[in-house]
């Protein structure tokens, strides 16, 4: 089961259409290590490593790290019931859930995501 960190890393990598090997070569580690970062929980990459990953993927370190996990599930009002892959959500993704809600219920005046 991937961590939220891992899900984001994978999504950024796939958005850039990079292979595990390409990312591994660029940051100087093994393909297996990048795969573990993406797929396994409890990975603790160093700050330097995260910085190198962010550079390769063209995002900021904050984009990759996201919010600390304990705060993630809290942003859910009673109108959201279930969102696939919710645990990995960033603020931007919470906004997208709001947008999805607006599409389901177009006549409703829904609040913006909490910042």
């Amino acid at each position: 089961m991937a961590s939220a960190f891992g899900s984001r890393l994978r999504r950024f990598r796939e958005a850039k259409k990079l292979t595990l090997q390409q990312v591994a070569d660029a940051v100087g580690c093994t393909k297996a290590y990048i795969w573990e970062l993406e797929m396994k929980e409890g990975q603790r990459p160093s700050a330097e490593r995260v910085q190198a990953l962010a550079k390769v993927l063209g995002v900021t370190m904050e984009d990759i790290m996201g919010e600390p996990m304990p705060q993630v599930p809290e942003a859910s009002p009673e109108d959201v019931a279930f969102f696939r892959a919710y645990a990995g959500m960033t603020d931007a993704e919470k906004d997208r859930v709001r947008q999805a809600l607006k599409i389901i219920f177009p006549d409703k005046d829904l609040p913006e995501a909490k910042r």
Binding site: V80, V97, A100
Partner: protein, 304 residues
């Protein structure tokens, strides 16, 4: 507080099929009409207190799969959004999955809430309900009686499984997972992601007879001698026979298995299906032959 009835994804999906049969008479279509299910649910015991589930709407976003939501102003109205950019089969699975949440979880878990102390247990709960919704979708789209009829008296290969997937209008992967959970044959399904094991499923008889693939490294890569490790083999839908011990070290050296391989086009993802010969009784362990013990094994694995 009343105790909720013991309902799981498979039981709930069977119940829906029961209602579908009553609705259609004899001829239920091979591919389940999810729109009919959606419209029917509010008038069944599974839709208590709900007036309407609105028609599913597309929300096309790369990071989005599906969403089930209650109308913020009207507790009797629910809605579903799904990612419309993926294959039609996958869209169907997502909608069925969200209907599963509607049936199984909408009262139990009206919202996500994990306090700081229970973050881990909270995520475990989420994983469990996601599995239940998947079970519902899987059993709804691929009912067991029909699957049994289509796979029985037939030599299984990926052509057969692919044809069944098309009749159910589900993805090949979804059908393969359903087959593994359903079949009485000893079999193992492995999903490789970028060359490493992502998921591994074993049929109940494979679990009972302790058929498992050899572990050598972490993360696990395919072992030499297997089709999975052979980059020159892209597809092996008819399967190739080999010694079972190449994959499963505990199997006797003369036992055979058939390995099947399906590679997905652009995405560096591979499905491996292993069909094993029946295990022979082992002197040190005859437990798997005993019906009663098998039943408790099944319960043990189901409860995990």
């Amino acid at each position: 507080m009343s105790t909720p009835p013991a309902l799981n994804g498979a039981i709930a999906a069977n119940k829906v099929h029961h209602w579908l049969r009553a609705w259609y008479g004899a001829d239920v279509p091979e591919a389940v009409d999810l729109d009919l299910v959606r419209q029917m649910l509010p008038s069944t015991p599974f839709g208590a207190g709900v007036r309407e589930i609105r028609p599913p709407v597309q929300f096309n976003d790369e990071a989005f799969e599906g969403l089930l939501a209650r109308d913020p102003d009207d507790p009797e109205v629910w809605g579903i959004a799904y990612n419309g950019t993926v294959s039609r089969e996958r869209q169907r699975f997502t909608i069925a999955h969200e209907l599963g949440h509607f049936v199984l979880h909408r009262d139990r878990q009206p919202r996500f809430h994990c306090d700081k102390e229970s973050v881990h247990s909270g995520h475990e709960t989420m994983r469990r309900i996601e599995r239940e919704a998947d079970d519902f979708a899987s059993n709804l789209l691929m009912p067991g009686d029909r699957l049994r009829e289509w796979v029985s008296d037939q030599r299984i290969d990926l052509h057969v499984l692919s044809a069944i997937a098309q009749r159910f209008e589900v993805s090949f992967e979804a059908l393969c997972i359903r087959f593994i959970k359903f079949t009485s044959q000893r079999s193992i399904l492995v999903y490789w992601d970028n060359g490493y094991v992502k998921y591994e499923w074993r049929s109940s008889s494979a679990v009972k007879t302790r058929a498992r693939i050899r572990r050598t490294s972490d993360p696990q890569e395919p072992l030499p001698g297997t089709l999975a490790a052979d980059a020159s083999v892209v597809q092996a839908w008819e399967g190739v026979e080999m010694s079972a011990a190449i994959w499963c070290p505990e199997e006797a050296p003369y036992m055979k298995l058939r390995e099947f391989k399906h590679s997905y086009g652009a995405r560096d993802r591979v499905l491996t299906l292993l069909l094993l010969e029946s295990a022979e009784p082992r002197a040190w362990d005859r437990a798997w032959q005993d019906k009663e013990i098998s039943a408790s094994y099944a319960e043990f694995y189901a409860s995990r």
